[in-house]
Assembly symmetry: C2
Homo-oligomer: 412 residues x 2
DNA sequence: GCCAAATAATTCAATCGCTGAACAAATAGC
DNA sequence: GCTATTTGTTCAGCGATTGAATTATTTGGC
């Protein structure tokens, strides 16, 4: 018979405290208002004694601080609220994309404490040079974080391509990268040169995945299961289930751009026919709207498209309707397969949501069997174009919150 | 990054033993040959003392027994192998389908200890009557299990339709069921009338999901991530990831039958157009092969199709090629999205694998971006038509292995 | 103004389960 | 028959949680 998924690692004596640190910190992070120790005790089922001990560890480890006395209700000793510390560990988020580099720092509470975008066409730049520019930006971010009392506890880098477990970029077509060993090239990156807690100092991941995480981070109270679609030159999807990113068997999930929507349609550079990208990719939309990239300054075409749509240009509206229909067909497949109830339009799609949503919803309601019972929501992303950088930084923070023991052991 | 799935509930003192029971039992279940206590200790990182204590609990709880001395290698006191008990708890698996009822009992080790299939066209039968027939079969299974020294520790029922969390069958189109409250109608089912460990006594689930679990059970050492496709009148998919069934946000995942493969193709009863079911559903294949159901005795058409294909009938081969192509387009979508490396053809597709596989592989290699790095395997299911019953029983067993403390608390 | 009620947080002996080392058991090889 | 070797058990020690008692701090009533 087959391996049972059960807990893989053994549970040793000390794991108990480790796990409870995670439980309590997780509650503090998820709470709407700063909870007291007493509230945490009743919520988790632990004793108040235990919670006090755990909280003390978290406070001395700079993960949690006591908040100002919350508005009081009734008699009794006033509770002391607990909040995630704003001066403890923070995550460094990096992003390389076709036409910009982005760097940001996010603290434990999810606040963006530093944010830089460096615009430049990176296609002609070698991977090593691009990464060395990134290292420079990261150095500035680290200094900035230090001046705010933050300690960078890890970094994550988003790239528009497929990344393997070792962090090598196997293929980033729009960037022109192939088999780029990012971790080796980043050896000089300031924070974290050694492995911490079994995790490499730099996690390299797909940009669409990280954007989805960024959305999870930004949408404070929305549902924690959704499909996030990044509409750029390529189309990538990040699947978030119960607050966790779904990565697939090998981490290469989300290649929604090559889902066939018109099986015998236009040939695609992937070798297939009728791929979504051929109908809803940025270039396809612009071409259909009559906005050939050549006669416009770089990167203004998408803005121009929005303007045209707003002024009611027939060509633009038709192009968006076609793209929305194709997108809807692909999304219907995904929803049928994974049973998600929320679709987030991100990246270049976000500003186009008013025009894309109707045809998408149309196809969903037509093709999804369960849509009658529970309607599917389609909404624009909360974050802008560089959501991946925020998501990358957030992923670092999330790991600390999920496993605070690693951080605590580090500081001693 | 993947944040470690933090423990949701608190970790109390006793949880430690609970978790270690699961760890050790899981290792015993996953091992190729009966492991000794010493081996378990080194594998898990626990002390031999702890492992001995845990194993003692498992043995007194009838979950594990000591095997005959394994073939010895070298000096030293001979190890005593540990195996899953064949006389402890067992799972009761039930299945209702269009033309049969199936019941089976699976023991902890995954062996099928009892198996009955009752053929009957259930479409004209009311849900209450169908379920009462099932209760009768379950009673026999329970007696049979008792005579073999087994105790039924839970039951699961597979139905060809959508099931909600409460166990109500919202829609089973081919059975003609709608909003059938199965748990209420099953009140008289022999084993387990009270909730055990927070889990209802009867778990009702989609037949395709359970078939996938059955496959996981049967395929002893294959990869634990795959897509299992049941080709019946409808087409359902079960997604297994790392040995766990993926159920989607609301448990309605796997509706692969209505993935659009020819966006403007044949209208489907779901309201969409060009759904997979219209090209690769059983009826579509038979019609394309010229085997109209009317002129053949019930249920012989699929067999006849296989015969025709074997003898080289042009119509049959063309029908299968068309179906395989449609299936391949849909599977390509899934693989692009979820990055799976194995596709299992189950249900009615299993015997047709020789003819379906080539076009499916063809579409995959054409449309899946990552196929070049890691090829996708397409293979027939190991279990036959009533895989869902075995999978249902297996799901009960799997839950016990994943959380042995629940069972142990029950027997005291 | 003072006291009782109420709620929050801490202290402390008891207990549960894991640890590590010593010890007993059982066998192969010389 | 003796030794080396590996397995499994026993037992004192210890870390973390528990539950009750204690202290701390505020509100509300007399």
């Amino acid at each position: 018979m087959t391996p049972t998924p059960g807990p893989v690692g053994a549970v040793r004596q000390g794991s108990l405290r480790e796990l409870n640190l995670a439980v309590v910190l997780g509650r503090i992070a998820a709470a709407d208002r700063p909870p007291s120790r007493a509230v945490l005790a009743t919520e988790t089922g632990l004793t108040r004694a235990t919670v006090s001990a755990v909280v003390e560890d978290l406070i001395t480890g700079r993960l949690v601080t006591e908040a100002e006395p919350a508005p009081r209700s009734g008699a009794g000793r006033p509770a002391r609220g607990l909040v995630l510390a704003g001066n403890g560990p923070a995550g460094l988020g990096l992003e390389i994309n076709v036409d910009y580099l982005a760097v940001c720092v996010v603290d434990l509470a999810g606040r963006v404490r530093h944010h830089t975008v460096h615009r430049a066409d990176l296609r002609p730049v070698s991977p090593a040079d691009a990464l060395s520019r990134l290292v420079e930006l990261a150095g500035q971010a680290r200094a900035e974080a230090a001046s705010q009392g933050l300690t960078l506890a890890g970094a994550a880098l988003g790239v528009p391509g497929l990344v393997d477990d070792a962090g090598t970029v196997r293929l980033a077509p729009n960037l022109g990268w192939r088999d780029v060993p990012v971790p080796a090239l980043l050896a000089g990156l300031p924070p974290l040169t050694e492995r911490v807690d079994g995790v490499p100092p730099i996690v390299v991941d797909n940009e669409a995945n990280l954007s989805a995480l960024g959305e999870l981070h930004a949408g404070s109270d929305g549902p924690a299961s959704f499909l996030h679609i990044s509409g750029e030159v390529g189309i990538g999807a990040g699947i978030v289930l119960d607050g966790d990113l779904f990565r697939g068997a090998r981490g290469w999930s989300g290649e929604i751009g090559h889902i066939p929507v018109h099986s015998a349609g236009r040939p695609c550079r992937c070798g297939g026919r009728g791929c979504l990208e051929q109908y809803a990719g940025q270039e396809a939309i612009l071409a259909a709207a009559g906005l050939d990239r050549a006669d416009l300054p770089a990167d203004t075409a998408p803005v121009r498209l929005t303007e045209l749509a707003e002024t009611g240009s027939v060509d633009a509206l038709r192009a968006l309707h076609e793209a929305g229909t194709a997108l809807g067909i692909a999304v219907a497949s995904v929803v049928n397969l994974l049973d998600l109830d929320t679709v987030v339009l991100g990246g270049g799609y976000a500003p186009l949501t008013p025009w894309l949503r109707p045809p998408v919803l149309d196809e969903i309601s037509r093709r999804v069997l369960t849509a009658a019972w529970s309607p599917v929501t389609v909404r624009p992303a909360a974050l802008g174009a560089d959501a991946a950088a925020v998501g990358a930084a957030g992923s670092v923070v999330r790991r600390i919150i999920a496993r605070p023991a690693g951080w605590l052991a580090r500081t001693g």
